[in-house]
């Protein structure tokens, strides 16, 4: 690991001021991704600004029935929060399927949103990786790509965004609040992460000097009966091959409301707009679920080892919707 300066900020103003004058600086949340990447030599900030003491640790009810989550709330605390479990169970479940207890106890909401891909070539300094070194090429495309993305990829990068939490946030229309010395702005989560295109090194809409201060969830009666289903190689402690965050509202046998997002299959947390469009107003049947999944996965591109994800994703979508229909949301 290279040498760097360490600062600790106690309030937001100090944190954003510090990063505005240190172009090579990075914020340090739980450190579970940044410290790892610094040790591997993938990230090398000149200055690390520890933000774990910022007073952004609240989960608060908003007057409109939504919820505001501070950026420094720990993943474990958010998963166990009464408001989240009651109103947005898919979010609580998504968090609990991520990483291990020790890591969830450290990881923060802001850091989870900004966690980087787990593509092995991105971590391996001897491999060609456009994300790590623009223009170098992509060893994953002709290499080990079983875990890689099938939606939203480009010929320059096929990495997935690995977060479980963000899949639920995409389905819930979450909004990310950010702040810098220039002021505050709000970015919908679905626009926060960018597709790789020809610039896979540019991953988010966040400017280098901006701090994530909060994530807001709008009210959603639908979300109170929702589920997160994660398909992976082991029953616990593994990244998703495919995951589905879903909420379903049915009246008189017709779909009157639906939220659907996919993880493990795409370059960014993937809101399944096409599937939602097919489902809305359609009969709530297995057949409609399958048609919706087919529509969403139509543009999917499989590579040498991850073709299987296309059918797996369709089945996971159908199974999750079927479960919502027959059993309702998870408690």
């Amino acid at each position: 690991m290279r040498t760097f300066a360490y600062l600790s900020a106690d309030d937001v103003a100090t944190a954003v001021q510090a990063i505005s004058t240190e172009p090579g600086a990075k914020f340090l949340g739980g450190g579970t991704n940044l410290v790892d990447l610094m040790r591997e030599g993938v990230e090398h900030p000149d200055t690390v600004i520890d933000i774990t003491r910022l007073p952004l640790t609240g989960v608060e009810e908003l007057p409109d029935g939504g919820v505001r989550i501070g950026a420094l709330v720990r993943n474990s605390d958010l998963a166990g929060d009464r408001l989240i479990r009651g109103r947005y169970p898919m979010l609580s479940q998504a968090l609990l399927t991520g990483a291990s207890a020790q890591l969830r106890n450290m990881a923060t909401v802001g850091g989870n949103v900004l966690q980087r891909t787990r593509c092995a070539y991105f971590y391996d300094g001897t491999a060609a990786c456009n994300k790590r070194e623009p223009g170098a090429g992509c060893d994953a495309i002709g290499g080990f790509n079983r875990n890689h993305a099938i939606l939203g990829t480009s010929e320059d990068c096929i990495a997935t965004h690995p977060s479980d939490m963000c899949v639920a946030l995409a389905a819930l229309d979450a909004v990310v609040e950010v702040e810098s010395v220039r002021g505050k702005r709000r970015i919908p989560l679905v626009d926060f992460h960018l597709l790789p295109g020809g610039t896979p090194q540019v991953e988010t809409a966040l400017e280098a000097d901006e701090l994530i201060t909060a994530v807001e969830l709008p009210p959603s009666p639908l979300a109170a009966t929702s589920r997160y289903r994660k398909v992976r190689d082991r029953a616990s402690y593994a990244f998703a091959l495919v995951s589905v965050a879903a909420a379903l509202e049915v009246a008189d046998g017709t779909v009157t409301g639906v939220r659907l997002a996919l993880g493990g299959v795409a370059a960014k947390p993937w809101r399944a707009y096409e599937a939602e469009r097919v489902l809305l107003g359609a009969p709530a049947t297995e057949e409609s679920f399958r048609l919706a999944a087919e529509a969403e996965l139509a543009p999917a591109v499989g590579r040498s080892q991850n073709e299987f994800k296309i059918e797996l994703a369709k089945r996971a979508v159908v199974a999750t919707l079927r479960q919502l229909l027959t059993e309702g949301g998870a408690a």
Partner: protein
Amino acid sequence: MRVTVTVNGEQRRADDVWEGESLLFLLRERLGLPGSKNACEQGECGSCTVYLDDVPVCSCLVAAGQVQDREVRTVEGLAEGDRLDPVQEAFVEAGAVQCGFCTPGLVVAAHDLLDRVPRPSDPEIREALAGNLCRCTGYEKILDAVRLAAARR
């Protein structure tokens, strides 16, 4: 930099700490507490698990500066004098220790589980210990140890 931290109830200080050091390095190499083990340094194996402000974390991914003025409890802090903690005793009696490298992390994780859930079901034990890898035992004896410790509480 200087780091002041409470470890196992005692206030400790370390000088000339490098910013890039982990809490694990601080504990093992500077504070003379080699109980927590360094196996992967990537957050994957859990052998470095310690309590930080009462919740278990992977100390290999905590930057040393982050623990300033906070409280750490390591596996060395679980026993009372010569009397082992019931979780430690159960690990010995159930034969859950082979090479022992994973043991300190597992003991801390199991200790935390039993504090929160005194009578855990098998799936609860498995999930709570999922972040602790063991290459020797095949986990069965570890499950036995946690059940034994739970039964004795």
